[in-house]
């Protein structure tokens, strides 16, 4: 902390200042500093896999509600063991969550109705405090040429035992996201580095969290919705883990962009090292630290953030830098583009420097109202560094899957 303050003081004294090495790449300097470029070099050459049996196209185009830096794909779900199916477009590709969640409004009556839903309900709260609610239902899930049978899927249905919905769902403070307008997608494809969306805390009822938001409830019209335990196999879970092949992880591949762009297309590749198109190649592996909620360490401005993560479902870089101005949403609005850098360190000790730029969010949104790809978009948060979708432009980002996160990794 002390070192950081000294650095900030130095920066304050010299408005235009090339950052001393000890400060790391961040801070409040304006303009681009030459030193960080030589530390990070440029992005390595990238090959984006062509669509085939283990490769699904993805696109960043604003989606149905015009949300920037959000990658969408389509998913086909079928009643288990049948040919009664529906392809759902505009499903968010999210490496920051676990499991498939679909709006009930995107499902035809042949596949889902509130009346025939089971009794097991789930409520999930997102980073912004908003929540989704609805029953679990099994579907066969098809993506590209891959299939997962009888996958527990979270159907987002605000009418499911509506007046019995556990009040805990409201404890994040945010609105209900069970509609297209609020979710900005027909669903979320959660393909993060852990298989299960709750894990052992939801299996053993002696471990039920109290005073915290518990996800699973058994609902009945007389008894209301009460906490219930759910075996791992029946929890909402990363559908990729249930594929018969190519089930150990994914690669999100999006091209580099030089500035605000209307849209980009890329690929979601299934499996790591299972086919000729999904090898690790020269990518560096960063294993997740079990002591820090399966995160990795990002060092920025000389401060370690051991709870940091890579998340395609976040639409900017999010980190703490109190020297950069921000707007009422928390987007950073520096007076000119900042060239920053940070170091990522895995639990396995591997590390790499990452250079990135932060431009004035409000200026960009004003100048490019029809664009949805913003590589220099960043915002404020506290407690961690979140490498959101801008990090993915120009990199093939690997996310492995293990049941509980042990041994899982990100690689790029």
């Amino acid at each position: 902390m002390k070192g950081t303050r000294i650095c900030i003081l130095i920066l304050a004294l010299f408005a235009v200042w090339t950052l001393p090495v000890g400060c790391g790449g961040g801070g409040g300097s304006n303009g681009s500093s030459g030193s960080s470029g030589s530390v990070c070099g440029s992005l390595a050459a990238q090959t984006i896999a062509a669509t085939t049996t283990n490769v699904q196209p993805i696109t960043v185009n604003g989606g149905p509600e015009g949300i920037v830096n959000s990658a969408y794909t389509s998913v086909t779900v079928c009643a288990p063991g049948t040919a009664t199916c529906q392809t759902i477009a505009n499903v968010l590709v999210d490496t920051g969550s676990f499991g498939l969640r679909l709006l009930s409004s995107a499902l035809p009556a042949a596949l889902y109705t509130t009346a025939t839903a089971g009794n097991l309900g789930e409520c999930v709260i997102f980073a912004d405090g908003s929540y989704v609610w609805g029953p679990l239902q099994e579907f066969d899930v098809y993506i590209a040429g891959e299939k997962a049978s009888s996958v527990p899927v979270h159907v987002l249905d605000p009418t499911f035992y509506a007046i019995k919905m556990p009040s805990a769902c409201l404890s994040g403070g945010g609105p209900n996201d069970d509609t297209l307008a609020e979710l900005g997608a027909n669903g979320i494809l959660g393909i993060g580095p852990i298989q299960y969306d709750c894990g052992n805390d939801c299996v053993n009822d002696t471990l039920y969290p109290v005073g915290q938001v518990y996800p699973y409830y058994n609902c009945s019209s007389l008894g209301g919705c009460v906490k219930t335990d759910v075996p791992l196999s029946q929890q909402v879970q990363n559908p990729v883990a249930l594929f018969s092949t190519d089930n150990n992880g994914v690669i999100v591949e999006l091209p580099a962009v030089s500035g605000p762009t209307a849209s980009v297309n890329g690929s979601l590749v299934f499996g790591i090292g299972t086919q000729s198109n999904n090898g690790l190649g020269s990518a560096t592996v960063f294993t997740l630290n079990p002591n820090y909620l399966y995160s990795f360490n990002t060092i920025f401005n000389g401060i370690s953030y051991p709870y940091s993560f890579i998340d395609s479902g976040s639409n900017g870089y999010f980190f703490t830098d109190s020297t950069i101005s921000k707007d009422s949403n928390g987007w950073y609005i520096p007076s000119s583009t900042l060239s920053l850098s940070a170091t990522n360190k895995g639990y396995n000790g591997n590390s790499s420097n990452v250079c990135f730029s932060v431009s004035n969010a409000d200026s960009m949104f004003g100048t490019y109202p029809h664009d949805f790809v913003f590589n220099n978009l960043a915002g404020y948060t506290v407690g961690y560094f979140d490498w959101g979708l801008p990090f993915f432009y120009g990199r093939n980002v690997y996310t492995s899957i293990t049941p509980d996160g042990n041994g899982s990794y990100w690689a790029y």
């Binding site: 908003s130 009040s167 409201l170 005073g211 915290q212 928390g330 506290v382």
Partner: protein
């Protein structure tokens, strides 16, 4: 006879209705007291709510009360020399019940959170509320929640807010 039955039925239905209403009201009682803005005694209320262990670390500028739940979720409550909880910080696999932690400040927070969501271009990520009487940052991702809330006018003089993490 039929009138009597009807009246009895109505009485029964009314009773059922009352029981249902009571059930709904009792299921979500307003927190009796809560950490943020409260005094030191509210720490034990939050500890009980999370069935957590408590570790208190006195300091020169403030005292930190750290509650740790069995799940690993941690809540830190910062007590000023004036005897008020001026900040709460949380991290862990489950989001702590913010209605309990925020108490009377929850309504203001919730209203602001819902208003912000309607704004474009929308943030998919952390939430930032900056209001005169309340600053809240929430974020993280599934199975890893983080956040901080504080009341600016209760923060002891000379304490940089970056220190409250």
């Amino acid at each position: 006879m039929s009138m009597v039955i009807q009246t009895t039925m109505r009485f029964l239905m009314l009773r059922v209705l009352l029981v249902v209403i009571a059930h709904v009201v009792l299921a979500s009682p307003p927190p009796a007291s809560a950490a943020l803005g409260g005094d030191e005694t509210t720490v034990s209320v939050d500890q009980a709510s999370m069935k957590g262990t408590l570790r208190s670390t006195p300091g020169k500028a403030y005292t930190v009360h750290e509650i740790k739940a069995q799940t690993g979720t941690v809540v830190r409550e910062y007590l000023s020399p004036a005897g008020k909880i001026f900040a709460v910080v949380w991290q862990g696999p489950f989001l702590p019940d913010l209605r309990q932690l925020f108490g009377s400040h929850f309504e203001q927070f919730s209203q602001s959170a819902q208003n912000l969501k309607g704004q474009h271009p929308r943030v998919r990520g952390p939430l930032l509320i900056q209001e005169p009487g309340l600053v809240v940052q929430t974020g993280g991702h599934m199975r890893a929640y983080f956040g901080r809330a504080y009341i600016p006018e209760l923060v002891p003089q000379g304490v940089p807010i970056e220190e409250i993490q």
